[in-house]
Amino acid sequence: MKPAPFSYALPRTLDEALELLHEYGSEARILAGGQSLAAMLNMRLATPKVLIDIAELPELQTISRRCNHVEIGAGVTQAELMAWPELADTQPLLTMILPHVGHYQTRQRGTICGSLAHSDPSSELPLALALLQGEVVLRSKRATRTVAASDFQTALMTTDVGDDEMVVACRFPVADGNRQFGFREITQRHGDFAIVAIAAHSTENGVRLAAGGVADVPAAIDWPRLSDRDLSDALNDFAWQLGGNDDVHATARYRRDLVRRIGRTIALEVIDAPA
């Protein structure tokens, strides 16, 4: 459980970090909180030549509310966002999910953007990004570009981030006050990775629901207001579409069952809640 040798770079500015990334490309990895990456390094699932530590870069420490979204810099930890006083008003879903992201101790170093970049299929922040149709801001020495949630996570633990690019921020839309939000997950222990996680919000004419922990990437779907029976059918179809595998934690069948059951509870919760 010791990492392979790597060189360690501590740039002082974002430009320095991008320059290094330009130079080393796929041989470098960006290190922010390290709560996923350091574990992967220790298990030698990743063996980069250089780690570029961006955790303290001053350019990446801000949470800023713009007119229709909140932008979270790549240095902002999960604990910092949780403690941001405007969070509940800005995006209640994040208030609901953050206590489930890792543990007290890992949230104090783990970053919001790092969790998105790691893109574990059962982690909560990618699920929230998919449900809310957020965006990720990528930068390289050459350019800055913004990628929609649906294009960001391309396959199992794989993202659209290029070799010379890094995530510098992510954006979640500011919640419309009339929307109701719901979230629930099943884990072996509070704070562990979800076996199945479901998030949903009401829409003008129905519900938008997303599931994590089943398919390789979190999947979201929109439904109009459905009758009780149609909702059950729709959830069943959705559960089968997600696929899902047997693993040490649960069978694919159990996962589908959770999608049907929790999906139903959460969908009804957000549809029926008084505005």
Binding site: M1, P5, F6, S7, L10, R12, G34, H103, Q105, R109
Partner: protein, 176 residues
């Protein structure tokens, strides 16, 4: 910019339990191994070495974090507190350590240093924490011996005493 070469060992200077210390380490050395092997501070335990068990928890600039997910080079210039820093100069146990002893909150003691570091932050920052919050904080630690009840009982006693005594006094804040 600091660029530390993979194959060399580098001098790292930081504050450990209020004292300036230094040691040498290659970039890949875990903070746990550095504390234990380079500095002889073996109070911090290494269990899983991938962030799951909590045995290695230390306080980095006040925050309880996993030392096995940190590298020695990242401690440069920081303030680190480990279990060795909890007892007073006279080796008198802190209130939390005393309560752990009283409530049989440890058996083998492997998980204990990490748990004490997490609870010390929680007590400083959230003295009003209730049992649910204390359990939430403890969920980041695995204890294979006690079944957690003694740990929760010890923590509850200290949090309550801390509240009754008015909490915020300077001595209390560092005494945990």
């Amino acid at each position: 910019m600091r660029l530390l070469d993979a194959d060399s060992r580098h001098t790292i200077r930081f504050q450990l339990n209020g004292k300036a210390v230094e040691g040498v380490a290659a970039p890949r050395m875990l903070a746990t191994d550095f504390l234990r092997e380079a500095l002889g501070a073996t109070g911090t335990h290494a269990g899983c070495e991938h962030g799951v068990c909590g045995a290695c928890t230390i306080r980095l600039d006040g925050k309880a974090v996993r030392a096995c997910l940190l590298y020695a080079v990242q401690l440069e210039g920081r303030n680190v507190q480990t279990v060795e820093g909890l007892a007073g100069h006279d080796e008198e146990l802190s209130a939390m350590q005393t309560a752990f002893r009283k409530h049989h909150a440890l058996q083998c003691g492997f998980c204990t240093p990490g748990i004490l570091m997490s609870l010390s932050q929680l007590l400083e920052e959230e003295p009003g924490a209730d049992e649910a919050r204390i359990r939430d904080c403890l969920s980041g630690h695995i204890c294979r011996c006690t079944g957690y009840h003694g740990i929760v009982a010890a923590a509850l006693e200290v949090f309550e005493a801390h509240r009754r005594s008015g909490g915020e006094s300077g001595r209390e804040r560092t005494d945990v």
